[in-house]
Subunit: 466 residues, 2 copies
Amino acid sequence: MSDTGLDPEEARAPLHDEDDRMDPGFVGGVLARLDEGDAEGARALVEPLHPADIADLFELVPQDRRAGLAAAISDRLDADVFAEMNEWVRDELIDVLAPHEVAEIAAQLDTDDAVAIIEEMDDEDQRAVLRALEPDDRAAIEEALSYPEESAGRLMQRDLIAVPEHWTVGDVLDYLRRNADLTTDFWEIYVVDSRHHPVGTCKLSWVLRTPRGVAIADVMQREQTLIPVDMDQEEVALRFQKYALISAAVVDGSGRLVGMITVDDVVHIIQEEAGEDVLLLSGAGEGDINEPVLDSYRARVRWLLANLLTALVASTIISLFEGTIARMVALATLMPIVAGVGGNAGTQTMAVTVRAIATNQLTASNTWRSITREIRVALLNGVTVAAVIGIGVALVFTSPALGGVIAAAMMTNIFIAGLAGVLVPVALDRAGADPAVASSVFVTMTTDSMGFLAFLGLATAAGLAG
Amino acid sequence: MSDTGLDPEEARAPLHDEDDRMDPGFVGGVLARLDEGDAEGARALVEPLHPADIADLFELVPQDRRAGLAAAISDRLDADVFAEMNEWVRDELIDVLAPHEVAEIAAQLDTDDAVAIIEEMDDEDQRAVLRALEPDDRAAIEEALSYPEESAGRLMQRDLIAVPEHWTVGDVLDYLRRNADLTTDFWEIYVVDSRHHPVGTCKLSWVLRTPRGVAIADVMQREQTLIPVDMDQEEVALRFQKYALISAAVVDGSGRLVGMITVDDVVHIIQEEAGEDVLLLSGAGEGDINEPVLDSYRARVRWLLANLLTALVASTIISLFEGTIARMVALATLMPIVAGVGGNAGTQTMAVTVRAIATNQLTASNTWRSITREIRVALLNGVTVAAVIGIGVALVFTSPALGGVIAAAMMTNIFIAGLAGVLVPVALDRAGADPAVASSVFVTMTTDSMGFLAFLGLATAAGLAG
């Protein structure tokens, strides 16, 4: 939690353009100072920036300038900046720092942010950093690292306010004022029983609006969303979103309160999980523009090779009709239209289905309804597109038969595309796979193959190339 | 803000499956009660649910059962449930309610939630609901409706805590305890000057941890992110995310504090905005599984027809080579491979670029770097895929020349795909268009056309079909 500095209109004007993106003139200005060896000038420009903006600046300057920038503004390169930085850029900077420097940064961070930095390091560096930490910090981070990656345990912070249920509001206020070493940033107070099991939560606004003498148990809300410590972070994010949570208590297997997760740590997960479907469906892996070229290559080439295989299936189907094509080359000209538009129709349905599954909107209760819904949309789309292409081809080729064949093939393929667009992701999900990862390959293979088969098959059956 | 009820393990077991989706057995149980005319039994099942779960239940039962369910559980069908409900399902339920019933629900809601319901109604119904509201509620909602759709003004609530800068912490505490009609749910206090301009914010945890005698101006943070009332909600969401905000003050054109936005109202926008790219890129419009069939049809058929046009361009290019194909039909068999894999490569780059633009990671400062990065990835991908297909085709067709031609064409098309995948979204963004909306059409057209042109052109030039 922190803020941008000054009035948005005044202070942001030189720094951000109208789309809220960092102004290239500003970035260029910092780089120019560094070019001139004017580290002091660069530092002065960066000085007033919010940590999130300094993190952006590092992402925006060329890779070979980042170490130089870091050296020039080292005193502003603190834990808050690292917490906000793109992970690829951060890992690269961390690589050039000594373990004790990383430990210094990690010690200033909330556990969850420190873990995010340390978990990406290789084992040897990780041990070196942990050795350089104070025992308390080390224990907290080691405990966090003992939970599975992307689990609530990695995401939570251990600093929280927990009070016994027999206290009054006055007791809580006195406790908060008198204990200087308590955390200063929290949004809710957790009320626990003698076994340290959460029994309720209390928003701070309720504490503030209640007289001192009232029992905290009468102010708190008993119903609360408890997060099991091993819950996957995607599930945590969905729960925060669904129940509009600001913070939530994390409990271990025996129900003891072990930490809390706050919404600001979840927001970037919500954004990433929602945004990753488009990357996964296209086979672009993590798809970050700061990812090293070789990593991007490895992530993407796999899917291109998979796509090559499915294209070979379609190619084989075409080869079955070589005789027909040889007699009527126009078929080769038209066949990609049927496959292409069918592919697009399949992608539309698939995108809708994958999103609905990811947001828990599509469940066993409404799968059948979604299938019939997509069939109806596909029929309407199919009739429209088939009519347009059928009439067009009939006129251009002065062949009503060819127009009829392409219309029927288009109708068939859009219908099949609609079915595949729902059934493939649903089947992958039921099989326990992430539907965003592999749906595209199967849907595209279906629409390509069926497009060529329907068009060339119907053309052959109709004796068009007779 | 509210919570789920009881311990997650115990209470959720019958209601949610392991993926946190509502159990079909529970949904079926409610419907079975309704079938038997046992409205009381259905109500008893629904009674303990969180409003967000009741909203889910409405989405999961078939459309023709929703009015019946609403009638059976009318006392639990309150404003909180409507606020959580999918907008299509909500609009459908709102349609069957009388204006005074809608007004009753709207009056209980925060302004932003009430506006979300009312803004979707047609003008006549909207006027009827507004007439049925109390003057205060009406004025607040009418003011909100005066701001542009999807702006901060529609998103903000007017109930907030603002205090003068000369107050002490004790003054603030007394004010909060003594004024029963103040809002009870808030996370930060805004400190304003005599012109009602915000001068700082104060987290409640800071108020709670400070002695009564300290001036609030000494506790507050002066730097804060102010949201202009006409800012687009997507921009608001990005700012909440970037600066990890829990709430933010909204100011009008003259800098006066007019409302506040809290993170729970922004979280679903972050999720929607991040998730919509995959829908927009596929041409699936809003792509909600609850959207009426005709709306989905209208949204999607436009893009299918646009795709038909681009397919015609590719088709025209093929027709230029009819002579070549007639002499060597194998070319028709192989050409979709070049176009298809190129299309996939283009889609990968496009997905990465569109996400980077949407998250403000790709700016004028690093566009050129992104282009060269994608070119390098494309060269690596191109060499790999071209080698595989080239060698394969050379062996299968016992024609090194044909293998060479398809390898060169594949290399060329993947390179062009990489370029188009960056340049098309960047150009659309610079032109002020949403790159997610129209990029696909242009990228696909490029990879299809160039794939056919490169392969058939090289084959012709090489005299393969000679």
